[in-house]
Symmetry: C2
Subunit: 316 residues, 2 copies
Amino acid sequence: MISNLKIVVLAGGVGGSKLAVGFSKVVIPENLTTIVNIGDDFEYCGLRISPDLDTVCYALSGLANPETGWGQRDESWNCYSALDRLGSPNWFRLGDRDLATHLERTRLINEGKTITEITSIFCNKFGIKSKVVPVTNDLVPTIITTKEYGELSFQEYFVKYQFAPTFIGLNYRGIEKARPADEVFQALKTSDLLVIAPSNPWLSIFPILDIPGVREEIKSKFVICVSPIVGNKALKGPAAKIFMELGIEPNAYEIGKLYKDLARILVIDKQNEFEKEKIQAFGIIPLVTDTIMVDEVRGAELADNIIKQFRLVNKG
Amino acid sequence: MISNLKIVVLAGGVGGSKLAVGFSKVVIPENLTTIVNIGDDFEYCGLRISPDLDTVCYALSGLANPETGWGQRDESWNCYSALDRLGSPNWFRLGDRDLATHLERTRLINEGKTITEITSIFCNKFGIKSKVVPVTNDLVPTIITTKEYGELSFQEYFVKYQFAPTFIGLNYRGIEKARPADEVFQALKTSDLLVIAPSNPWLSIFPILDIPGVREEIKSKFVICVSPIVGNKALKGPAAKIFMELGIEPNAYEIGKLYKDLARILVIDKQNEFEKEKIQAFGIIPLVTDTIMVDEVRGAELADNIIKQFRLVNKG
């Protein structure tokens, strides 16, 4: 059954995009807005690359590569091979079709368009009916401080070094001056429910929440957060590793602690059921379910489950 | 027989690259320098594209597409198709492998390298043993004034409008302040023979000669020019059309007139043999031969022919 709730999803890359796809199956597409992190945006060979935005758009349009979680399906690598031959640093893999997205984005930025306008154009061309909105039109690059290399740009940390370096801390450069895109406020103001996707808190969600004005706007909303920690691991990426390097045990309780001022409900995996009481102690309602979205059906089930729980709690 | 002459070829795109390949077969590669026009360089989607440089390098490395005269052989077009889907202007066709050249060039420019240094790196990676030198490290974009559209950038005129608009005039923007690359002077000073390839005079050769200092340096050299007009046509591109739009009959005599202060010998095609006397009247020695380089063998024969004629005249 298709819900007519107006839903905003805050998302990073793979986990976020999967839940966004899930919601796109169970709500009226026009009522769904995915607000996406742009802290991992960077420039490469003169091109503006927005990995999280692309992951979300590719997922929503059915273009995503289900095996890698990034890039497009049925991709070819002829440009990448030729780059390799030229001796170009090859740690960031650019597929031939994926490249077109970066080229056209760069062309439109050079024409004076904002990243929000460009994303809207791309959604239209990709046939995406729901809204995808970058959190800001400003540049807010996430800088990771590591034990081994000092400061690294996000993509160096994440892709070049495969998040092997020890995480000490991070900052979202320029965030104090950044302004949320108008469409962010618009979506938040009209939404019934805000969902924080199972994305990395530090690398995907806080760079959204910490844009001045966003947290305040969200405080009045009904917020449901999906824990990115399953058992004591992250399904993808360095969330659990970062927890440990910060001296914190990676578990659902710690996720609850990070979001306790915002979330009314925390969706935790069955593997974390034993943490229910500790989460309740924050004043958060735990929803225990299967959070692993192995395919789109499971993503839609999770989205449906979240909506049902929202209706239950919101009525009561 | 391989000559040990030191030869400099001034070249634009296709015609120039064919003659450069011809010379690369008949001289010691290290003794050959091709000085290339960069007036057609432009920025596209944030990338620095140098069409003539690429045509020359692809030709010398055997990567060139023999059918189109531009781009690489065995090229794929997946990025281009994806760009088309995104609604990007599609008049400039970027092949997947070709794109790597533009990406890496842009990356190296952003690192602070000059176009001369980058071309040298590319030659090395492509296995080119002769030297390829862009005439300047400055930007000197050729701007075409047309009857129909007013001023057009070179690629708009040449690729987007397929040189259909009526040519009124042109300028090499910024040329008065441009400086030849050091390697240009170096090659000219040590060369025995300078060859002006059968390239478009206004679009390929004058943007080289008109860089301050180049013409002066060349005046002391033995110069042989190959006419780009065969019969009353250009084999490729708008040379003959431009002649006519300027109210001049396209023929070898008019090419002689353009180069009469520089050239000792003008190589003309058999179809233009009847113009011999008129060319001699300029004080230029006409060399009548088959100038159409249908393949590399014919290019090498033409190069060999030019060397023989040089030895003959230079001894006498």
